[in-house]
Symmetry: C2
Subunit: 223 residues, 2 copies
DNA sequence: TTAAAATGTTAGATACCTCTAACATTTTTT
DNA sequence: AAAAAATGTTAGAGGTATCTAACATTTTAA
């Protein structure tokens, strides 16, 4: 559709809007690592194209059209990530940066084949749902590891950040999607938690990390 | 290295230089489908970066540095094409346009894995040699089908054009890399030739087509 | 509720890549 | 060798995406 830059704006606006509904100019500037006036002028352009609705000094809202475009890019990004991991054997901490580039490839053939080779998959290597070709996303209840009570177990279903530094951190703690872990202790003081990993090791996670790990409560428990 | 635009200039300059040694501003403008002044100013920029040597009103020459960059892009393009055909099962007439996009992906991991999965391949799906990681290209004798004498046989080793329209044409004639064919008749008049295909069908090829099919003489002969 | 801080906007500049119009040089043809 | 054609260059402008500096509005804190 639009330029590479536009695609990056749309994707960021959409993902911020999932967290907060309305998106601020400053939030977007922070996410895209550009200055406020840069965002301001791009938003005007996107508003002219009806991709966002914008009221000066208020906020940015994604339109239906914008949502469609965002989901198409996110679909390509997540299919690419899964392909890189499953077919090419690249580590999950490396695939985000490559997928950032592949998501801009324009070729139905390319993405249809990827989808077919992966068996029309539903989630990417970080546990995030892959929108289907019509832009439908499987709804997910988002319970973070930080919300699990002391003594309870949970299974990791996704991670809320796919930057290399974050995933390297999880790798070093021995955490993977699908692992069942138990919360041993929760610190009031700083929100950090101590968990028992699948490998029966105790390890500490900061508040910031625990809140970026999505889980589902484990009915059976373990450990 | 440089921008996407720069990469496209470098690649085009290099491939034109293989045909003619020196490259003209107008030839480059034709190839890139931009106007003369556009090329003129970009060439000045590339000359400032020592990627080409340029003497106004004379010609454009690729420097060693330029050659290195060009070969690195060409390597990525041809690895991508082969990957798309061999691993993803996409038709050879479709892969060029996708590879044009993939060649700009910046990731050693990505291309090292592709190279590894393909077993460090030497030629792409169109029979063109893949430069190795140091920029070394296997030398190839280039004999075109148009140069084969009446009655002689030859084996197709490569095609000198990877546009979809050209490859669709070859597909419709039932021609593939590796096929051994026989030249039945050569027309003085327009340079067209009649050949016998591997499937023992007679078919006519125009001068323009015959000269874009690279062959090696078949010592054994056939049919 | 006023002052301070945070957030947002406008104006004007720059780099990149492209164009058209006008002019210059080189090559080809007569 | 002069004229015509082809090729190349310069000047000036426009769109995109970015920036800094100055100003405006909204939110938060004193």
């Amino acid at each position: 559709m639009g330029s590479l830059t536009e695609e990056n704006y749309i994707k960021s606006i959409y993902s911020l809007s999932l967290e907060a509904g309305e998106v601020s100019v400053s939030g977007l500037a922070r996410k895209l690592k550009v200055k406020l006036p840069t965002v301001n002028s791009m938003i005007k352009k996107l508003a002219a194209k009806k991709i966002v609705a914008y009221v000066p000094y208020k906020g940015i809202k994604v339109t239906e059209k914008g949502k469609r475009e965002a989901l198409s890019i996110i679909r390509k990004h997540r299919l690419a990530e899964l392909f890189l991991v499953e077919v090419m054997g690249i580590g999950w901490e490396e695939v985000h940066d490559i997928a950032e580039q592949l998501e801009h490839v324009e070729s139905d053939t390319f993405y249809n084949r990827i989808n077919q080779m992966l068996g029309n998959p539903k989630v990417d290597p970080h546990g995030e749902p892959i929108p289907d070709i019509h832009g439908k996303v499987a709804a997910r209840k988002r319970l973070s590891l930080g919300e699990i009570a002391e003594g309870d177990s949970a299974r990791i279903t996704a991670v809320g950040n796919d930057e290399k530094s974050f995933l390297d951190h999880l790798n070093s703690k021995g955490l993977q999607i699908g692992d069942t872990i138990t919360v041993r202790k929760k610190e009031e003081f700083d929100g950090s938690i101590v968990i028992v990993t699948r490998a029966r090791k105790e390890t500490m996670l900061s508040h910031q990390v625990a809140n970026r790990i999505w889980v589902e409560a484990d009915p059976a428990g373990h450990g």
